[in-house]
Symmetry: C2
Subunit: 119 residues, 2 copies
Amino acid sequence: MMGERQAVAAFAALGQEHRMRIVRQLVTAGPDGMAAGMLAEAVGVSGTNLSFHVKELTHAGLVTSRREGRSIIYSAAYPDLSELIQFLMRDCCQGRPEVCAPAVAALSACCKETSRWTS
Amino acid sequence: MMGERQAVAAFAALGQEHRMRIVRQLVTAGPDGMAAGMLAEAVGVSGTNLSFHVKELTHAGLVTSRREGRSIIYSAAYPDLSELIQFLMRDCCQGRPEVCAPAVAALSACCKETSRWTS
DNA sequence: TCAATACCTCAATAATCATTGAAATGTAGA
DNA sequence: TCTACATTTCAATGATTATTGAGGTATTGA
């Protein structure tokens, strides 16, 4: 389960325009991920700069990588992203369920087709 | 609806140990909020420092304040927190519902007593 | 093995952020 | 009005963070 230290690191990582875009790009790209070059172009940063930000995201546990030929492929760390969300939710509910109720409602609608996941 | 700019600002605000604690403390404290002095002690920072961080959180839209006698009372901005969560959820679902399904499951369990909120 | 490609690491610089203490503001009660 | 109290503002300092360019490493195909 995700601790405060780790959650703070993850939020700090997401609190930067380019890193937020990188994560969103990778989440959209899906489990197959994207090569560094493509990702840099999509996000609009130099290769060097992408490398820096991706390393930050990797340390925060939000992104993983693998080599494939002469490319390095980055992917969103789906399980860790999910845990971060759960961390935020868990805290938001501390005695105040009315805070996250609208969020869970929106989420339920968004994920309706997978509502068979029930635990 | 929350935009990227605003979400980045909110995440950046949460990506700092003391600010994260301030927000959690206020969320736990409920809508009645907490006086600055109490909050500073609870979080473990000086009054001056609390003032700085609370201002950051206010700019990020995560905290609101009101004067009450000679105290200033801070409260969590529940609606904005909820929107931030929804922003994260919305993005996590872009074509990949399996990412947030575990989170929504955990959330549903946590907020079971308010499941009458259905939109 | 050579040259080209795709990325990364390192060091330096500029920019932003966190913390502190001193001084100012606004509020309440005598 | 005077004093105590709660909190903020300001200026200065040190600590992180972001970005860049130069040079390095791994992989591929000729």
